[in-house]
């Protein structure tokens, strides 16, 4: 009897009360728990996907999507497929173009085709819409008829552009976003100098973001230190002073800076009144890069202070006391004992401020003037004014890649684990 029991205990599987395998029961329970947990996360996951991931995917798709010419000028696309791009194409391409123009005008798509081509070659819009109006009455030979309607139809550049835009996907928006373009032989070349802009703006965006991060660190570090070390009754008050602006609307804070900094504003008035500057020597502190940096530093400061504070709070004061009692002077003990322990806070705060700054829009739009505009302002320009959504998407795509790269570089150099967000 006892032998049997021992044998069962060693050799046979363990059974639950109802006779099923205990291991299976355990697995089943665990699986159910996991499902419940997943079910609880599901709404959030779906929300993040629908409002965040999906638009980003859509944006990236739009930056290369190029359906307009391909879909609305099918005959021309087919006729140009085997054209070698030398000289001007033959009569069949012109005939196909006339047929497509007639069709596109009837379906009211001609404006979209003209708009798309006009982004690539300035002045094409009126040529297309104007020719489309006459196309219905054109007779063979169509080559002569089109060139008679507008000289541009005899230009190789127009046909090369149409052939290039005939592909359903294009990299031309990304080229435009880095100040480049295709030339007449489809080589990538730099954009004309008086049209180059985005590289400068990307550089400026990085520079302003860096400046704002450094300023926030310089201003935020002492504040966070005080918050962490002062007695509770003082630090609470200080905390409220940090948080109060944080709870105030972004717009209110930005417009307050306008009141303070403008040429006839409080600060300039005060400096004139005290005689520091003359009436004529009022300083331009807003509607330029300086205004953007000042306002953004103020607005983003809490994002630096809070992570720093949460790290500093966990550093026992006894470490500093130990360093001092072992003979280090205050500066050495701060530099070698205290500061290294705050690195996770510095990393988190800087990364947070930097990444928030890089996509900042409202503040530069309001106080940036001419030299304080950042890349988001140009994305907005192409969304709202020029309606070149493809270019806006390409600019956004580059910014996204840039942020991901910075995050990757940061995790390589500092390590993501070595970061404390709060």
């Amino acid at each position: 009897m006892s032998d049997q029991v021992t044998a069962a205990a060693y050799a046979g599987p363990v059974l639950a009360a109802d006779g099923t395998l205990l291991k299976d029961r355990l697995n089943k329970t665990m699986r159910r728990r996991k499902l419940i947990a997943a079910g609880l996360v599901l709404p959030l996951g779906a929300f993040v996907f629908i409002t965040f991931m999906f638009p980003i995917i859509l944006m990236l798709y739009r930056s290369v999507d190029n359906p307009v010419v391909h879909d609305n000028m099918p005959q021309t696309v087919a006729a140009l497929e085997y054209w070698d791009g030398q000289g001007i194409p033959g009569e069949e391409a012109f005939a196909a173009m006339v047929a497509d123009l007639v069709q596109a005008r009837k379906s009211k798509e001609i404006g979209r085709v003209a708009t798309r081509l006009n982004f690539e070659m300035s002045g094409v819009r009126s040529v297309l819409t104007g020719t489309a109006r006459k196309a219905k009455n054109m007779k063979a030979p169509f080559k002569d008829a089109l060139i008679a309607a507008n000289d541009l139809w005899g230009e190789r550049e127009l046909w090369v552009t149409i052939k290039r835009m005939a592909k359903p996907f294009t990299a031309s928006q990304y080229l435009a976003a880095v100040d480049m373009r295709f030339d007449i032989d489809n080589n990538m070349v730099m954009q004309d100098e008086d049209r180059q802009i985005y590289v400068t703006i990307f550089g400026r965006t990085l520079w302003i973001s860096l400046l704002v991060s450094v300023m926030c660190l310089l201003l935020g570090y002492p504040v966070a230190y005080l918050l962490a070390t002062l007695p509770l009754k003082y630090s609470n008050l200080l905390m409220i002073m940090v948080l109060l602006p944080f709870w105030t609307s972004l717009l209110v804070r930005t417009t307050s800076w306008i009141v303070l900094l403008q040429t006839n504003g409080v600060i300039n008035d005060l400096m004139v009144w005290t005689g520091i500057i003359s009436e004529e020597g009022r300083i331009q502190m807003i509607y330029n890069q300086m205004g953007t940096v000042i306002a953004m530093t103020h607005i983003l400061l809490p994002f630096m202070v809070l992570p720093l504070y949460s790290v500093m709070k966990t550093i026992p004061p006894s470490y500093m006391r130990a360093a001092l009692s072992l003979g280090a002077n205050p500066v050495t003990s701060f530099v070698r004992v205290y500061a290294p322990q705050t690195v996770p806070g510095i990393g988190a705060g800087s990364l947070l401020v930097f990444i928030l700054s890089i996509g900042y829009y409202i503040t530069p739009a309001l106080v940036g003037g001419r030299t304080g505009q950042m890349i988001s302002n140009f994305i907005a320009f192409h969304m709202q004014k020029s309606l070149n959504w493809g270019l806006a998407a390409a600019l956004g795509g580059i910014l996204l890649v840039g942020v991901l790269f910075l995050y990757w570089a940061y995790s390589k150099i500092v390590g993501v684990d070595n970061m404390k967000l709060g």
Partner: protein
């Protein structure tokens, strides 16, 4: 980066919600401020008084972006939008707007058929014009003791009139005004802007005041900048300056030389929820009486010939409105009409050049 994207997603969600909330009302979208007020007084109130559908009045900042977003997503909530001529033509070409049958427009009060009563060029395939407006420059009279500026060249003369200038942030009308300040006759402006040399000449002229320029975007900004003393003179929409003078007693004066005039038109986005009522509103608001009445609230000119003689006094300030119309003979001497076809073709390139010039 995802900030702008998030914003647009939130905006899209907002549009959906707004659509659900306001279905049933006629959504009329215009430029806000004194201009929308003039439309509320001259069009909306009499429209409601005669039993028209309730109106939901919204403001926007111009451009076709919202219309395009609504039409492409299939969730159109705007019934009627007040747009500039170039946008009316472009939106029509791109299939964003509904063609409007001009036979719905009533004849003028003097019996002239509508097609003859509207000034030439004020009716387009998808748009019906309501006003003539213009870009001028204005200054604060109290800031000048001696000579006052009278020509566009004076605006660019920093030696004669030292001080900050205000300009709209964009290529349109700035390039034209720069060329006219440089001595180009209005008739030659667009011919010249069609060439690289002409564009360079315009930017070279703008370069001379670039360092002393403050840039504005919304029409309400220039009068504010003048009032704050932020600028000595600024380009502006004439109605905004007039509004500040008539209703706030500001000491501003307008220089009409080298004005660049344009039209505002009613357009209907494709797929608008209340097309029938929108059409009725277009016909109602552009009849002779309403067209003249709106000019008694803001100094934008009527587009109907039959309305011009009916323009009277300002509704509250009692100022005679005729001399303040952009089209008044004294003001119209050296005027240039904004060439929508030119801008439809060249806006992409010239705005890029302008942005690049601005960033340097």
């Amino acid at each position: 980066m995802s900030k702008s994207l998030l914003l647009s997603t939130v905006a899209a969600a907002g549009i959906l919600l707004a659509g659900a909330a306001s279905a049933g009302n006629l959504t009329v979208v215009s430029w806000g401020g004194g201009y929308t007020k003039s439309q509320v007084e001259a069009y909306h109130k009499p429209w409601l008084a005669m039993g028209g559908k309730a109106i939901n009045s919204e403001d926007y900042n111009g451009g076709l972006a919202e219309v395009k977003a609504q039409v492409e997503s299939g969730k159109v909530v705007w019934d009627l939008v007040d747009v500039e001529l170039s946008d009316a033509v472009r939106g029509c070409d791109e299939g964003l707007l509904l063609p409007i049958d001009k036979s719905i427009l009533p004849a003028g009060d003097d019996g002239t058929p509508a097609l003859k009563d509207f000034l030439p060029g004020t009716l387009t395939e998808c748009g019906v014009a309501s006003i003539v407006w213009t870009t001028i420059y204005a200054y604060d009279t109290t800031k000048f003791s001696g000579a006052k500026p009278t020509t566009m060249a004076d605006f660019y003369d920093l030696k004669k009139f030292p001080g900050k200038r205000g300009l709209r942030k964009g290529a349109k009308s700035n390039l034209e005004m720069a060329l006219m300040a440089d001595g180009v006759a209005p008739a030659d402006v667009y011919k010249m802007l069609g060439t690289n040399a002409g564009v360079e000449r315009a930017f070279a002229k703008l370069d001379t005041i670039k360092g002393s320029t403050v840039w504005w975007e919304a029409g309400a900004q220039p009068p504010q900048m003048l009032a704050d003393g932020e600028v000595l003179m600024t380009t502006a929409y004439n109605g905004r300056i007039f509004g500040a003078v008539a209703t706030e007693n500001k000491p501003f004066a307008i220089v009409w030389d080298a004005q660049v005039w344009d039209l505002d038109l009613w357009v209907i986005p494709k797929g608008a929820p209340n097309v029938a009522d929108a059409l009725k509103f277009v016909a109602f608001s552009t009849d002779t009486k309403r067209n003249a009445a709106q000019a008694s609230w803001i100094s934008y000119g009527p587009v109907r010939k039959s309305a011009a003689p009916l323009v009277g006094k300002h509704a509250t300030a009692g100022i005679d409105m005729k001399p303040h119309m952009p089209t008044a003979p004294g003001n119209f001497k050296n005027a240039l009409q904004n060439d929508f076809a030119f801008w439809a073709d060249h806006a992409d390139e010239l705005n890029e050049k302008f942005n690049s010039w601005l960033a340097k």
